[in-house]
Amino acid sequence: MTEKAEPTPKKKSKKQIIELMAYGLFCVATGAYCFSEKGPEGFSDALDVQAHMLTGMLPRITMALGVASLLWVILDADKLKAAIQNRKGWVKLVYATILGAVTPGGPSSSFSILNLFLSSGLGYVVGITYITAWSMLGVQRILIWDIPLMGAEQAGFRFIASFWLPAFAGLLAGWIFGKAQSASIK
């Protein structure tokens, strides 16, 4: 669910502090610029908009993180991997899409699964379908970010417009780079 790697706690906390300081600086810079451009009234209007956005988002974010945490506990990445390895033909692409969408954890787990697919000879078609589905249709990303921030309708538009695109990307890779499928990973 998270976009973060799993470095040592010390490195992680240092990185988080730097990141938060950067966000803080962004707020101060935009706030100062807003005040100088729009005056106290514009600054106050901006604060009202922010307060409105935050009160709307907080309950949704809280619930979405709860859902994502439960999914993280319930879903089993090893079982999901085994499911795709046992399929053939286009069904494999459907499974790769579904597996990509439901893979729990952040990029560390999804890219490890991708590495396993490529090294076990599943090929670029499945690999590209899987990782594209994970990045575009990841259920945890949709639940934590898409629905709470963009709303169900906008999230629905994105899902309907793109659920078929990971398999399309995989097939396109097979068509254009057919030879690359049998190539080694690196």
């Binding site: 859902v67 506990v73 709470p148």
Partner: protein, 162 residues
């Protein structure tokens, strides 16, 4: 009033909570521990990003956003959204909050879909940290080539259905 998205999340929370509780193996406790960790990680970022982009919104004239990213601008917003999404070198907090603030200023759904999809596929931090090392540069090249039209296709399909 409870929004549909809140209802979906609430329903999922109950169903998954029930499933985890039924296991009886401490799944609920592990989920709660993860939830607390994630809240501590995400909440400060979320608040700061909302504050920063809220000020930005006040500065950028909404007429400008409507002109270049609004529904009346045809398919141009899809290209602008897609290219802008590829250039966002940050995590989901910034990408999605930026999209949400643009949505509040009148950006078209198609532009937002192109923006988010492009960010999802081409997030540079993910490519540099994970993809090059775990999948190799050849795979990266193939993936980026075939994925290049995807944000624009997704945006265009949204343009047709929205």
């Amino acid at each position: 009033m409870i929004s549909p998205s809140l209802l979906i999340l609430l329903a999922l929370l109950f169903v998954l909570g029930y499933k985890a509780g039924k296991r009886g193996d401490g799944s609920l406790n592990r989920a709660y521990a993860r939830f607390k960790k994630q809240m501590i990680q995400f909440l400060p970022r979320m608040v700061l990003v909302v504050i920063g982009t809220g000020f930005l919104l006040q500065i950028i004239p909404s007429a400008l956003i409507s002109e270049y990213l609004g529904a009346d601008a045809g398919i141009t917003p899809i290209f602008i959204g897609g290219i802008a999404g590829m250039l966002v070198p940050a995590g989901p907090a910034i990408a999605f909050t930026t999209a949400a603030t643009l949505a509040g200023s009148g950006a078209a759904p198609a532009a937002l879909v192109a923006f988010i999809t492009a960010w999802c596929i081409f997030a540079i931090h993910r490519i540099l940290i994970y993809e090059i090392h775990l999948a190799g540069s050849k795979f990266l090249l193939v993936r980026c080539t075939v994925a290049l039209p995807i944000p624009f296709i997704a945006g265009y399909v949204t343009h047709l259905i929205s």
